[in-house]
């Protein structure tokens, strides 16, 4: 087996590819099919390479396909889906012991760190829209959201020049997400305190969650407690386990 898998003719040019080489290729293909049978994620040999390619795809998504001004399509409230599943990491719906004591902490590389209560946030500019939610699993659902644009927070905390990313953290079993600044500043990226014209339900991240129709659901941190501006790329709960970091759609 090892013998067959090791190419013997390293000097072969493409024109020289002959029948034997193709038989080897076929054998390699057969071996690949066998690994396929094992539900292979690439193993120690290929998984790092696949993750590197995923970073390249992140770059394409962030630098080429993402537009800081293009708006996601919006829908009428009549088109709302009957159902929008809610995911969290904790075994039970995360809830605050003392909702009145809750504050959003804005810190890291900023000129003006902030501590904002829900009332403070509601006094800031408000955006509402009805958009399609896309889950990485392949499902989608239409819902309405309202809240304050992240750009309005950025305006008030004044990030330093070195700030390139934001780490959004939650009180849901340490769940967090790392974002690039451009996606966070998109006009449809909001800190939502309401859903379908009602206050944000506990299942969907009360009291405050990140929302944007330009990202997959797993990038939209629920149960927010802080946003920290950083110069290095922050990780995240699913991103660290192999899901694409950018998660833009």
């Amino acid at each position: 087996m090892t013998d067959i898998q090791t190419p013997r003719r390293h000097d072969a040019t493409l024109q020289d590819v002959d029948r034997r080489a193709f038989v080897k290729l076929a054998v390699a293909g057969g071996a690949a099919s066998l690994v396929t049978a094992c539900g292979w994620d690439g193993g120690r040999l290929l998984r790092p390479g696949l993750l590197d390619i995923s970073r390249v795809n992140d770059w394409v998504g962030e630098k080429i396909l993402f537009s800081p001004t293009r708006l996601a399509p919006t829908y009428s409230t009549a088109q709302r889906s009957a159902k929008l599943p809610s995911y969290f990491i904790s075994t039970m719906t995360p809830m605050l012991d003392d909702p009145a004591a809750w504050r959003l902490r804005v810190d890291g590389l900023v000129a003006q760190p902030l501590e904002l209560s829900l009332d403070d946030l509601m006094r800031l500019p408000r955006v509402s829209y009805t958009v399609k939610h896309h889950c990485v699993e392949g499902w989608s659902a239409i819902a309405s959201w309202h809240g304050v644009p992240v750009a309005a927070i950025v305006e008030r905390c004044r990030p330093l020049k070195a700030a390139r990313h934001i780490s959004f953290a939650s009180f849901d079993a340490g769940y967090s997400n790392g974002w690039d600044l451009a996606s966070a500043l998109h006009p449809q990226t909001i800190l939502a305190y309401g859903m379908n014209d009602n206050p944000l339900p506990a299942a969907h991240g009360a009291p405050l969650r990140l929302y944007s129709p330009t990202k997959l659901g797993y990038k939209l941190t629920k149960y927010l407690v802080s946003m920290t501006f950083t110069d290095t790329r922050p990780g995240g709960y699913w991103e660290d386990q192999g899901y694409p970091w950018f998660g833009g759609i």
């Binding site: 193709f22 994620d41 989608s140 899901y243």
Partner: protein
């Protein structure tokens, strides 16, 4: 007789491997939401609703693993596809492969031959009109696989493309059905190679076609 340029042979076999990986990782991705339509419905009609494909047919182990395989293999599919089409255009070989309106008549004659309504194998060039139809169709299918793939991958940034396919869930639906068209093509293709023209297999491997056509006689 020299038959297939090395670019044709390389892209042919490379696509076999890449496509196998894309389909296998695609089936693993499908498992995470095995239906088509927004949550709560309505759903597109599909016989595969809720289907879990067998373990041996899936690649990636779990959703993230499968996504990383799928998005990594998508690049070589595009690259080999462009290399192949680029070669056809540059070499002029597209003339022997592209199905055009004037091939309709010949396609009907070939169909008669296969249905035993005609005894003589109709005269043909490098490929008969039905082959041209199949090979042209599979290129179109490849392009559609890529475009529906982008429509599912970036439904916000490429919203116009996603809308062109009828929306996000419809794009998923077409992306999925293209797989079965590829599978059907491949099954027919392999059967015809062995039944009608076994020498063509060697030609696709070595580049040389040996013997008289059809080689099973």
């Amino acid at each position: 007789m020299r038959r297939h340029h090395w670019i044709v042979r390389l892209t042919h076999w490379a696509t076999v491997i890449v496509l196998a990986g894309l389909i296998a990782s695609g089936l693993q991705i499908y498992e995470a939401y095995a239906r088509f339509g927004n949550r709560g419905g309505p759903y597109f009609v599909s016989p595969f609703d809720g289907t879990q494909f067998p373990h041996w047919s899936r690649l990636g182990g779990w959703l993230a693993g499968a996504l990383n395989w799928h998005f990594a293999l998508a690049w070589p599919l595009v690259a080999f596809g462009l290399l192949y089409v680029g070669y056809l255009v540059r070499s002029g070989e597209w003339r022997a492969l592209l199905f055009r309106p004037r091939d309709v008549r010949g396609a009907l004659e070939m169909t008669k031959y296969y249905l035993h309504l005609r005894r003589e194998h109709p005269p043909q060039g490098k490929h008969n009109p039905l082959q041209k139809l199949a090979y042209t169709g599979v290129i179109v299918l490849g392009a559609l696989a890529v475009f529906t793939g982008f429509a599912v991958y970036k439904p916000t940034q490429l919203a116009w493309l996603t809308a062109l396919f009828g929306g996000f869930q419809a794009a998923r639906y077409w992306h999925f059905w293209i797989v079965w068209m590829f599978v059907a093509f491949t099954i027919m293709h392999v059967i015809l190679v062995f039944v009608v023209d076994p020498a063509s297999l060697r030609a696709m491997l070595t580049g040389w076609y040996r013997g008289r056509f059809p080689s099973h006689d």
